[in-house]
């Protein structure tokens, strides 16, 4: 298992293709915060997002913030939510908007594996609940759109040494979640046999 540093947004697809399930990744650059209601607005209500998502790293988050002025916010506590609820947006994010990485906690179900492979995307696993640390790695909230969805707005953060993340699903059809579930189900059969 290798360790990588990747700066987002990425322009070279090779930056994504070098990553393999289980690898450790530290992220630099910009991270776009997105959540359930944000993606419902984009895909179910057909509203174009007012930020460029090409090559982007999306983070499943609804940050705790303090308002400083119009459109300006200060971080209080920024952490990551469960990704599985939002898996159905994967294809659209990659195919229509060129998103390259989605980061959250708890993993994506297997239906994400095929589109991620086809579209050259990865899923990064963050440590859920480790928000105090994550907050120190976010340098600034640079932009916010759709404030009426607070806290499920579209956010742009500048990050430094964001991680450590684990590649949960890679762009080659690899998924730690699928492998862990397969082994666990095999183990359950063994356990049931002796109960």
């Amino acid at each position: 298992m290798a360790t990588h540093e990747v700066t987002f947004p990425v322009t070279d697809p090779a930056e994504i293709l070098k990553l393999r399930a289980g690898d450790e990744v530290i992220v630099q650059g910009h991270v776009i915060g997105i959540r359930d209601r944000t993606q419902i607005r984009i895909f179910d209500q057909g509203v174009e997002p007012p930020m460029d998502l090409t090559g982007a790293f999306l983070l499943h988050t609804a940050p705790g913030v303090r308002k400083l002025g119009p459109g300006r916010y200060e971080k209080i506590c920024i952490g990551t939510t469960t990704s599985a609820r939002m898996v159905r947006f994967t294809e659209g994010l990659g195919a229509q908007y060129g998103v390259r990485a989605i980061c959250g906690k708890g993993g994506f179900p297997d239906e994400a594996i095929e589109p991620m492979q086809r579209l050259g995307m990865v899923y990064f696993a963050i440590v859920g609940g480790a928000a105090a640390l994550e907050t120190t790695q976010i340098e600034e909230i640079e932009e916010v759109a759709w404030e009426e969805l607070m806290p499920e707005c579209l956010w742009k953060f500048r990050v430094k040494d964001f991680g450590p993340l684990t590649v949960g699903i890679d762009a080659h059809g690899g998924s730690l979640y699928r492998d862990v579930q397969a082994r666990a189900h095999q183990k359950l059969e063994e356990i049931y046999a002796r109960l």
Binding site: M1, G22, E24, R37, T61, A62, P63, G64, R66, I76, C77, I78, G79, T80, T81, T82, A84, K105, G106, G107, A125, V127, G128, G129, A130, A131, A132, L133, E134, T135, T136, M150, P151, P164, T166, G168, L176, Y177, D179, V180, Q181, R183, A184, H185, K187, L188, I191, Y192, L195
Partner: protein
């Protein structure tokens, strides 16, 4: 009497406001020990990466005086009310609600509470029937114990109920807990506390599962038969290999707590309520004179 009651209302409100923020920032010692112990046992690379990050996060929260996790949860309180405590539970509830709202505005804390149909945010982590309070009444006592357990949604979404039949027996209970935790995978932020409620009725089994997650990590049910079930489930769940954050590993759960009630001869209800590794909780004792004693580890 009304002066006393007003002061006591204020005391309960102050306790709630303090407990909500404190629980979110400073996790109890038993949980810290259990997490350190997990890191000592874990042999997988990804599992170690997760557990070391968790331990680092707990320290950063302390240094930065920040919240351990951004999910300020649904405010849940457990109240043990003495029969001679001079404030009626209706007033205790109102004070807990005021305190929750005050903490949310003053800190400020992220507001999570929404109308369940419109999904509109109600503003300050309070709303219709929120906060949620579990009540227990104690004879021959004039005190009030309040425990605040802010409950994150990642783990609460991993709640499961099965009406097993009597013929399923204890094996059926074990199988249901195992399949629930394996199915939950990394979503509830493992390794955490698995709360299991058995017996009673459908609703009461889930109530008991929720009571179970609020116990200090590793405490045992006083009934030896139930305690044995806790130990068995702990061993079995840690054989599944789900591991920290569901990325694979040796430590899937920190502890299994089971609460039980007697039930109907044809019922065998099993409820599972998961509590994430950031198992936040903080307690206070409010005396009849309004004085408050805070206790992190109760």
């Amino acid at each position: 009497m009304s002066v006393v009651a007003t002061d006591l209302s204020q005391a309960v409100e102050d306790a709630a406001a303090h407990l909500y923020v404190w629980a979110l920032k400073d996790i109890p010692q038993d949980l810290r020990d259990a997490l350190a112990d997990a890191a000592g046992k874990e042999t997988s690379v990804t599992g170690q990466r997760v557990l070391q990050t968790i331990l680092r996060n707990v320290n950063v929260a302390e240094e930065e005086k920040n919240l351990v996790c951004q999910d300020t949860g649904l405010a849940v309180y457990y109240c043990s009310v003495g029969e001679h405590f001079p404030l009626h539970p209706a007033r205790i509830y109102a004070a807990l609600k005021e305190g929750t709202e005050r903490a949310t505005v003053d800190h400020p804390l992220r507001s999570n509470t929404v109308h369940t149909l419109t999904r509109e945010n109600t503003g300050h982590n309070v709303g219709f029937r929120v906060p949620i309070v579990h009540w227990d009444f104690v004879p021959d006592w004039d005190g009030l114990d309040v425990k605040c357990v802010p409950k994150g949604s990642g783990s609460e979404n991993m709640s499961f109920l099965k009406m097993c039949v009597p013929a399923d027996g204890v094996t059926g209970i074990k199988k249901f807990v195992l399949e629930s935790i394996v199915g939950a995978g990394g979503k509830p932020c493992p390794p955490g506390i698995v709360g299991v409620g058995i017996g009673g009725s459908a609703d009461y089994a889930m109530h008991l599962a929720k009571e179970a997650i609020a116990r200090p990590v590793g405490t045992r049910n006083p009934d030896p038969l139930v305690a044995e079930l806790e130990d068995d489930l702990y061993e079995l769940l840690n054989e599944t290999g789900i591991g920290p954050m569901g990325l694979g590993g040796d430590v899937t759960v920190l502890s299994v707590h089971v609460e039980n009630a007697d039930t109907h001869m044809t019922l065998n209800p099993v409820a599972v309520n998961y509590q994430c590794w950031a198992a936040r909780r903080a307690s206070a004792h409010v005396a009849a004179d309004g004085s408050i004693t805070y206790e992190r580890d109760a």
